[in-house]
Amino acid sequence: MDSEDCGKNALPEPFVFRRLMDSEPYYSDKLLDHYQNPRNVGVLPEADGEAQRENQVCGDVLQMFVKLHGDTVKEIRFKAEGCIPTIALASYATEWATGKKIGEVRKLSPAILSAVLGELPQHKLHAALLVAETLQAALADSADS
């Protein structure tokens, strides 16, 4: 609709835009769902690979365990002490990777994770980095064993 058609009481375009932006939730529903109902939480005592990484600045800690079947990821579990996107993206990554070929899972990068549950704010990108790094380290550990 052209702004001139809005009628004399309508707000000018920039204000409408601003108002819509302001009403955006801080986190997407999908992200909050993974945070509130995290999938694949726990440890795998029989894991083929495991890794723990920590963000030295903010203190988030993430642990991941992978169990393989041939060249396929059979199971993944995680434990985390971290902020909302860390937990949500760890949950997402484990759900997504389960049943996939290792080669495909290796392509899951921080850049992909930073947008997959809605664009993360700049100061939250560390969560995508931590999840990607921990997952790749767990896969690397399974290759070593």
């Binding site: 986190y27 909050l32 945070y35 509130q36 995290p38 939480v41 723990q52 963000n55 600045v57 903010c58 203190g59 988030d60 800690v61 993430l62 642990q63 434990k79 985390a80 002490e81 971290g82 902020c83 909302i84 937990i87 704010p121 100061h123 939250k124 560390h126």
Partner: protein
């Protein structure tokens, strides 16, 4: 679900009486308080009445009060204003590591202009040691700025002792009193600070209005120039509705002051006592010397932002000093200054109450939070319930 607001150190709901007092100043009483016609003089009278009300609340003379746009402007004005006024005498300022960013950033900016600033450490409860402060004073020291109550942990500083140390040596003292106005009695006749910052929206007034108290005969260079408003100490057309609202909030603040030590402190103490029952929970701040409305707790093996959002989903608003939640990766400079390690800071929450909170609000927080903490701990790689 009735929302529960426990973030009153961030801002408070406007009292309906404050709103009612303000509304005519958006409509029929719209005059510029500097105009000499009737429209202007009605606005002027309202501004002066508001000034009088704030003066009564803090035991000052109305002439000692300058209206500003808020606590941050008041802090900036006080520190820069005194620094520029007295730079010929000396260029050393003493403050603390736990000040509000309005003070710390102003001090950092002054350092770039050649001033020297000492940032005093605090003990594990957030208290400044006046003897350590005395040791830092030099002949170059022109200003000591120490907040009254810390906005994150509520610890109250020994301002009487600090003022005694400073005044013995002829040094001015400023205090950011944003968190204590209307919370604990402040009487400038006995409270010896020379300058003090206040904000309207922390005591059920509107946002965008604050005040700077400047003791009679204390000189400073104004920060905002361009007019003779506020006795040439802060230029700019007065925010009349805001000032009227602040005045009404000050009047109500005085009326409700006794409730702070009874109702508000009572609620805060019960909230604190009940939440400390959660294993692995510790208090940040001084157990005794603390503003009556603030309680900052750390829950081991949790993360503040997650706690905050989980509480928000239950309709309960609090705040956190944890990293990540503030738009930066850095955890609270206040909790770090107490000597807390980053894991302790990681799971910190601030609860701040007002006279508008109820027993039911506390009941709800106490009912909901333990489950959230437990759920978060069940995700932790290092937590063991044993």
């Amino acid at each position: 679900m009735t929302p529960v607001y426990l973030d009153n150190s961030a801002t408070t709901p406007v009292d309906p009486h404050v709103l009612e007092a303000m509304l005519p100043f958006f409509t029929e009483i719209f005059g510029n308080a500097s105009s000499i016609h009737t429209f202007g003089q009605r606005a002027r009278a309202a501004v002066e009445e508001a000034r009088e009300r704030l003066a009564i609340l803090i035991g000052a003379s109305a002439k000692e009060i300058i209206f500003t746009s808020g606590g941050t402007e008041s802090d900036n004005t006080a520190v820069r204003g005194v620094a520029y006024q007295l730079r010929g005498k000396g260029q050393h300022i003493i403050t603390t590591r736990i000040e509000h960013p309005a003070i710390l950033s102003t001090c950092k900016a002054l350092e770039e202009e050649g001033f020297r600033v000492t940032y005093l450490p605090v003990d594990s409860t957030g208290l400044v040691d006046p003897r350590k402060l005395a040791d830092e004073i030099t002949p170059q020291t022109i200003l000591i700025t120490v907040m009254h109550a810390n906005n994150e942990i509520g610890t109250l500083q020994p301002l009487a002792e600090i003022c005694a140390v400073a005044h013995e040596r002829g040094i001015l003292v400023h205090s950011d009193c944003v968190q204590t106005l209307g919370k604990i009695p402040i009487d400038m006749k006995t409270f010896a600070v020379d300058l003090a910052s206040f904000s309207g929206h922390k005591l059920h007034g509107p946002k965008g209005v604050g005040a700077l108290y400047v003791r009679k005969q204390v000189q400073f260079k104004p920060l905002v120039v361009g007019g003779s408003h506020e006795r040439k100490r802060r230029a700019g057309t007065e925010n009349v509705p805001g000032i009227v609202g602040f005045g009404k909030a000050a009047e109500l603040g005085l009326e409700h002051l006794p409730e702070m030590e009874t109702h508000v402190k009572g609620l805060r103490d019960r909230l604190q006592r009940d939440l400390l029952q959660i294993p692995g929970t510790t208090l940040n701040g001084h157990p005794e010397f603390r503003a009556p409305h603030i309680c900052n707790l750390s829950f081991d093996h949790t993360e503040g932002e997650g706690l905050l959002i989980s509480l928000d989903l239950e309709g309960i608003a609090v705040s956190t000093g944890a990293a990540c939640s503030s738009g930066s990766l850095e955890p609270s400079h206040v909790l770090i200054a107490l000597g807390r390690d980053k894991h302790h800071v990681h799971g910190s929450l601030r609860f701040s109450l007002s006279r508008m909170n109820t027993e039911q609000d506390v009941d709800r927080a106490v009912e909901v939070l333990p489950q959230i903490v437990e759920r978060m701990r069940s995700l932790s790689p290092s937590y063991s319930a044993d």
